[in-house]
């Protein structure tokens, strides 16, 4: 199917983009619930493209989303979404944003297609057009005949698709997806990430993806914002974040890792053992790569993969959270 072909074509790794315009602009936003400070002086610009919004539980992600949708009022600060003021133009913002909530939300007794049609009608699509569009979006989301079943009988995966379809049905330029892949099996998860890629690349949608599944963020995001304890801990391009402090190459071999290490050292390459049978070679220049191939050929070793080393999302996330927690502790003390 064309749709699958389109998804398949977009499956390759994303590339870092040039500096882009911002879709969300927050400046010194603070939100307090009685004694609990949910957001503390949050200032961040989220560019177009796919942005991963990360943070441990209670970091303030949901509060931030509600503020962006104009459902909560911040105590202070300034916020713009798609150039519209959150405090004064929240209805226009909600018209232009598709929000997929993390919570299971549905209208019992309605079928899947009726739910999506209803979401479209709430965004002022005419009734018949809303039904046509609902079918179109459910096709895109890979929903089959189950669209005619009552939503309360749906599996978790099907409900995720339904929420995604409801968020997308009115063709918004900005999507805010809260845990879009949670509860999905590996195939469905991959399909969901592909849909996100397709929307971002082929249809120029800006997407803010709020998730705890870090590999998902690394796979599709171009920009990452990490919130910790109500503060922005990291806000950076994924390509920058992934780049290790010292450039390096990850090399995998079909043969012995020890032999490979020995071969590299004989060819004056600085190398050490990495995780999961990987050899890490310091440096990523063309000369370095040539020497890697030469060393392997000289020792009759087969190289299975040779990729530039990237920081893992887990490491980035843990560092950001740890630093932020320390910051708070220091400030408090």
């Amino acid at each position: 199917m064309n749709h699958q072909a389109e998804i398949g074509a977009s499956n390759s790794e994303h590339t870092a983009t040039a500096p882009r315009g911002s879709v969300i602009d927050l400046s010194a936003v603070t939100k307090t619930f009685q004694r609990f400070q949910a957001l503390h002086d949050v200032s961040v610009n989220i560019p177009t493209g796919v942005t991963g919004l990360l943070g441990p539980n209670g970091a303030g992600k949901s509060t931030l989303i509600k503020i962006l949708l104009g459902l909560l009022k911040a105590n202070s600060g300034r916020a713009h979404v798609l150039g519209l003021d959150v405090w004064q133009q929240s209805r226009q913002i909600r018209q232009l944003v598709g929000y997929m909530p993390e919570d299971d939300c549905y209208l019992p007794t309605l079928s899947g297609v009726e739910c999506v049609q209803f979401a479209a009608r709430l965004n002022c699509l005419p009734a018949v057009e809303a039904l046509r569009r609902a079918h179109e979006i459910l096709d895109f989301c890979g929903a089959g005949q189950e669209r005619y079943r009552a939503v309360e009988t749906y599996s978790t995966g099907m409900r995720q698709k339904l929420k995604f379809a409801q968020a997308l049905v009115h063709d918004p330029p900005l999507l805010i997806l809260d845990e879009p892949t949670s509860g999905l099996d590996p195939d469905e998860r991959e399909a969901m990430l592909n849909r996100i890629r397709v929307l971002a690349r082929s249809h120029q949608k800006s997407i803010v993806m709020c998730t705890h599944i870090l590999p998902d963020v690394q796979q599709v995001s171009q920009y990452v914002v990490i919130l910790a304890a109500g503060r922005v801990s990291v806000a950076q391009e994924m390509s920058e974040l992934s780049r290790p402090a010292v450039p390096a190459l990850n090399v995998r071999t079909l043969g012995s890792m020890e032999k490979l290490l020995l071969a590299f050292r004989e060819h004056d390459l600085e190398a050490h053992g990495g995780a999961a049978g990987t050899v890490v070679v310091v440096g990523d220049s063309d000369e370095c790569i040539r020497r890697v191939w030469r060393a392997a050929a000289a020792h009759d070793l087969v190289i299975r993969s040779l990729t530039p080393a990237r920081n893992s999302m887990e490491a980035i996330f843990l560092d950001a959270v740890r630093n932020s927690t320390n910051g708070v502790t220091h400030a408090d003390s």
Partner: protein, 326 residues
């Protein structure tokens, strides 16, 4: 080119007016509520009293041509509750009234019959219908977190509440105004000439006004109950309890023996009806149809309905957005 392309396509089209959003909520709510089998049965039952009350209409209109049916009509009407409101006017007529005498009481007779239908069978059905339709309307949205579907879109609280009120209002119109207007139409068809419209033209307006006085407070109270809980059965229980407790209190107060009356000397008899929502609504409807049974209490009854409606509206406004603020 494939016949069916399932890739994503951008949407460009004309949107409907923002004012249609409440109607989207309302029409979807009506569709969902109409799936209840019990509600369908009740809707059917709502039109049965129409057949019953068409009989006195027929007998009355027939009396002007055949005086013998006047006695049958009087006998029939005597069996109806609160016939005292009409008795005085019927008693002044001779056993065989003239056409002019019939003309003089037609308006009162029609008003009485319409009021009786609205106050007794229809009012009972309304209590049951609202008990089925209203309780899940908001509580279910809170339980299934469907409020996120509404409020993550450009829906205001007012549009949401208007949509929900519209759902209950739609069904209540089917229980009140529709059968009553059909009965009025039946009366016109049974009457000797079209000029009857000239003397009864105000009755459709009274029907609509009486229905509005019934629909607005009952709908708002029922929705306020629904918004206060996540369990629709609790909201339903509160709804029925309100009517039952009110009626039992009223019945107990009017049953106080005469020798106990001294203890309640400051408690005027008319005030007793204010303890029962059913009696308050009935008193207002009687006034609208031109019967001043408890005329001194009409102002207080209207005031109670207004206060209850406003308080319910305030609760609704506060509650429907509460989950989003959490």
């Amino acid at each position: 080119m494939p016949i069916h392309k399932s890739a994503y396509r951008a949407w460009q089209g004309d949107r409907t007016s923002e004012w249609t959003r409440w109607w989207s909520i309302c029409s979807t709510g009506i569709r969902r509520a109409a799936r209840s089998l019990w509600l369908k049965r009740l809707m059917l039952a709502a039109f049965l009293p129409l057949l019953f009350f068409a009989i006195p209409f027929f007998l009355f209109e027939q009396s002007s041509r055949d005086p013998t049916t006047w006695r049958v009509f009087r006998g029939f009407v005597r069996g109806l509750p609160q016939v005292g409101m009409l008795k005085e006017k019927m008693d002044v007529l001779p056993m065989q009234p003239t056409a002019e005498q019939f003309e003089s009481i037609r308006h009162d007779v029609w008003s009485f019959l319409l009021l009786t239908m609205l106050r007794y069978p229809q009012a009972m059905l309304i209590v049951l219908a609202v008990g089925i339709v209203a309780p899940p309307l908001i509580s279910q949205d809170l339980r299934t977190r469907a409020y996120l579907i509404y409020f993550a879109r450009p829906i205001t609280r007012l549009e949401y509440i208007a949509g929900k009120v519209g759902v209950v209002g739609f069904f209540l119109l089917g229980f009140t105004a529709c059968p009553a207007l059909l009965l009025y139409l039946a009366g016109l068809l049974l009457s000797p000439g079209v000029d009857v419209v000239l003397t009864t033209w105000d009755l459709p307006l009274r029907i609509l006004l009486g229905s509005a006085c019934l629909i607005i407070p009952t709908t708002l109270v029922a929705l306020a109950f629904s918004s206060l809980t996540l369990e629709s059965r609790i909201a339903g229980f509160a709804w029925f309890a309100m009517w039952i407790i009110g009626h039992v209190t009223y019945s107990a107060l009017i049953a106080v023996p005469a020798f106990e009356a001294r203890r309640f000397q400051d408690f005027q008899p008319g005030w007793r009806l204010l303890t029962s929502p059913y009696q308050v609504l009935g008193n207002v409807q009687s006034y609208i149809f031109g019967f001043g049974e408890n005329a001194d209490m009409v102002g207080a009854s209207f005031l109670i309905l207004a206060v209850v409606s406003l308080a319910s509206l305030a609760i609704l406004f506060r509650r429907v957005n509460a989950p989003m603020r959490a």
